[in-house]
Amino acid sequence: MSWATDTRAGLAGQGSTWRRVLSPTGNTGDAVFRVLMLLVALLMIGIVLAMVAALTADSMTSIRQFGFHFLTGQNWDPIKGEFGALAFVYGTIASSLIALLISVPFSLGIAIFLVEQAPHYIARPVGFLVELLAAIPSVVYGLWGIFVLAPVLRQYVEPPLAAVFGWLPLFRGTITGIGLLTGGIILAIMVTPIVSAVVRDVLAAVPGSQREAALALGATKWEMIRVVLVNGAPGIAGAVILGLGRALGETMAVTMVIGNRPQISLSLFEPSYTIASAIANEFTEATGDLHLSALVELGLILFLVTFVVNGIARVLVWNVTRKTGGVGRAA
C-alpha cells in the first residue's frame, strides 16, 4: 500500500480520501487512467525485481561455491572450474570510461556546432548523419573495427603514442591494434550519436532569451555558448549517463576488438574483456552447471555495476548542478 501513501504525499493538501487520491478532479476517466499508468510503472519495477531474483536464483551454485571471492578473484578457467569476475569488471568499467573520455568532448562539439553555429542547410543533414550512426548494427562496427580501425591504430596511432608517452604504464606493451584502447574507441564511436543527439536537443531547449541576455551584456559568442552549456548542464549530464549505459552493456562490437582476455593490465594496448562479451561468448557452449551459474552471476554483477555506476554518476550530476546553479533535474 505504500504507493498510496506516496501518491497521497505527492498531493498533500488535497485531502486524503481514496476517491480524491485516485481522481482529484472527480472524473472517472481520470481515475482509470491514473490506475493504468500506476500499473505500468509498477510493472517496470516488477520486471527489474524479477530479473534480479531470477539472476540470483540461477547463480546460487556459483555464489555458494565461491562466495565473495567471485568478485575479487581474477582467475577464469572453465576447464578447471575456477571462476573470478574481477578482470571482467575492470574491463567493463575501463572500456566504458575510455569511451566517455573520447566521446563526450566530441559529442559536445557536434551538438554546439549543430545548435549554435551551423546554418540550417548544414545542421539538418549533419544531424541526420550523426543519428544514422546510431542505427548501424553493432556487429558491423565490430567488423569495421577488426578490418579498418585495428590496423590503423596498430600502424599510425599506437606506435607514436608509445614513443611519446611510453614512460606511462598506460602506453606500454606489445602493439597489436587489438585491446582495451581499440575497444574503448569503438565504444566511443557508438556512444557519440546518442550523446550528441540528446545534448543537441538539450541545447536547443535552452531559451533564446538566455542567449540574447548574454549577448546583450556584451558577451562574445564563446561566452554566450558557455552560458547555454551551464544552463543545459543537467541535461548534458543525463545524456552522458545514457551513453555510459550503452557502453557498459555493449557486447558484439567490443568483443571483436578488445582481445577477450580476462586480465587486469594498466596498459591500454593489452587485451581485456568485458562482462557482456564474456556472457555472450561462453553461454552457448557452457555445459557444466557451475560454468553456467558463474556466467549468470556475471550477469548479476553487470546489473550491480550498472546500478552503482549510474548511482555515482547521478550523485556527481546532482553536485555539479547545485554548484553551477543549473535549472531542472538530471534526465
Binding site: 572453465p78 585495428a150 591494434g177 587489438i178 562479451s277 555472450a280 561468448n281 561462453e282 557452449e285
Partner: protein
C-alpha cells in the same frame, strides 16, 4: 475488383481447409498412408552448413518429413536432448560419461562427418607453408616460444628465413568445438599443456588475444603481422588462408586436406570404442592429419513415438549414405567406409516400444 476479391476469399478458405486437414492428419500420424512428421534438432554450429544442406536435399526426396535444425552450439544441443525438448541433438565432442548418466535414456552417438582444425599465420616474406611439430605448437600457445626465429621453429623449417619478431597468438574467444579439438590435440602431445590448461570448449589461454568466431580469428590474423591462430579447415579453404603443415605421430608433416582427415578416422577405426565416442586427434596413420575430429548426431536408443523415430532413423541412414556426397563440396571430410558400417549398426539398434525401426 469483386471477382478478384471473391477469388481471394476462395483461396483463403481453401488454404484454411488445407490447414485443418493437415492438422487432422498430424493428429493420427500412425496412419500408414503418407504421414507428415516433423522433427526438431539442435546443437553444434560447426556442421550446420552441411545439416542445412541435408535438410533441404532430404526434403526434396521426402516431402512428408519436415526437419528443423537450430545451430545453438554443442552444449545447448546436449542440454536440449537431456531435457527432451528436441528429437535429436548434435555435438562436436562426444557426450561425457556424467552427461550420459544424467540423460533420461540411453543416448547413441551417430558420427556424421569429420572436420579439422588448421594452423594459420601471417608472416611477411614466408611463401612456402610453415611446418610445425606438435610440441612447438604447444610451446607457442603456452607462451614459451616467443619469437618467430626460435630455434625450435627453425628446426622444422630448414631454408625458410624467419623474422626475429614477437609471435602474437590469436585464439577463439567464445566457447567452441574448434577450441575443444585443438586443446584436446595439445593435451595429447604436451604434458605441460595438459597440466596447465587442459582440453575444453573455453580454455584459459596462457597468452595472446582472442577473436570472436572463425571470422574474428581470421580477421586478426590477416590484419596483424606476425600472428598465429587456428580455425576450421572449411573456413580456411573458403578464405584461402595460409595453412601450416603439422607433424603427425608417424613423423610426417601433413597438409590438412579432406582426405588426410578421413585418413585420421580410418587409422583410428581399430581403437574406436563400440559406442563410437572417440577423439581422433594425433591419430597414428602415416597420412593422418593430427588435428581432426568427428561431429555427432545424438539420438535416444528408445524412441517414444514410433512414427517420429522411424523418420529419424531413415533420415540418419540417408545422411551417412547419400548425405556424405555433399560433405566434400562444403569442406567436410566424409566418414571412412568401416565407420559407416558401424554407424549403420547404431542406427539399426534404435527401437520404439521394443521393436526395431529399420
Amino acid at each position: 475488383m469483386s471477382v478478384s476479391k471473391s477469388v481471394r476469399l476462395v483461396a483463403l478458405f481453401s488454404a484454411l481447409a488445407l490447414l485443418v486437414v493437415s492438422i487432422a492428419c498430424n493428429g493420427n500420424s500412425s496412419n500408414p498412408g503418407t504421414p507428415s512428421v516433423s522433427l526438431q534438432g539442435a546443437g553444434a554450429t560447426f556442421p550446420n552448413p552441411l545439416y542445412q544442406k541435408w535438410l533441404s536435399e532430404y526434403g526434396k526426396v521426402h516431402p512428408n518429413v519436415k526437419i528443423d535444425y537450430q545451430s545453438i552450439g554443442s552444449g545447448g544441443g546436449i542440454k536440449q536432448l537431456k531435457e527432451q525438448t528436441v528429437d535429436f541433438g548434435a555435438s562436436d565432442a562426444p557426450m561425457k560419461d556424467e552427461d550420459l548418466k544424467a540423460a533420461p535414456g540411453e543416448v547413441l552417438h551417430i558420427p556424421t562427418v569429420l572436420g579439422a582444425v588448421i594452423i594459420t599465420y601471417n608472416l611477411e616474406g614466408v611463401k612456402a607453408p610453415l611446418k610445425f611439430s606438435p610440441e612447438v605448437i604447444a610451446d607457442i600457445f603456452l607462451g614459451k616460444i616467443k619469437k618467430w626465429n626460435d630455434p625450435k621453429i627453425a628446426a622444422d623449417n630448414a631454408g625458410v628465413t624467419l623474422p626475429s619478431t614477437d609471435i602474437t597468438v590469436v585464439t577463439r574467444a567464445e566457447s567452441s568445438g574448434t577450441s575443444a579439438v585443438f586443446t584436446d590435440f595439445l593435451s595429447k602431445v604436451s604434458p605441460e599443456w595438459k597440466e596447465k590448461v587442459g582440453a575444453g570448449t573455453s580454455p584459459k589461454w596462457p597468452v595472446g588475444v582472442s577473436g570472436k568466431g572463425n571470422e574474428g580469428v581470421t580477421g586478426q590474423v590477416k590484419n596483424t603481422p606476425n600472428t598465429i591462430g587456428y580455425v576450421e579447415l572449411a573456413y580456411a579453404v573458403q578464405n584461402k588462408l595460409p595453412v601450416a603443415q603439422v607433424k603427425n605421430s608417424a613423423g610426417n608433416f601433413i597438409d590438412p586436406s579432406i582426405d588426410a582427415v578421413t585418413a585420421a578416422a580410418s587409422a583410428s577405426a581399430g581403437s574406436t570404442p563400440d559406442d563410437l565416442r572417440v577423439s581422433i586427434t594425433n591419430a597414428t596413420g602415416p597420412q593422418a592429419y593430427p588435428i581432426s575430429s568427428y561431429t555427432y548426431i545424438l539420438v535416444y536408443k528408445n524412441q517414444k513415438d514410433a512414427a517420429k523415430g522411424k523418420a529419424l532413423v531413415d533420415f540418419l541412414w540417408w545422411g551417412i549414405h547419400d548425405g556424405e556426397r555433399f560433405a566434400k563440396e562444403l569442406q567436410y571430410a566424409p566418414l571412412p567406409a568401416d565407420i559407416v558400417k558401424r554407424a549403420e549398426a547404431k542406427i539399426n539398434s534404435v527401437t520404439a516400444g521394443g521393436t526395431a525401426l529399420r
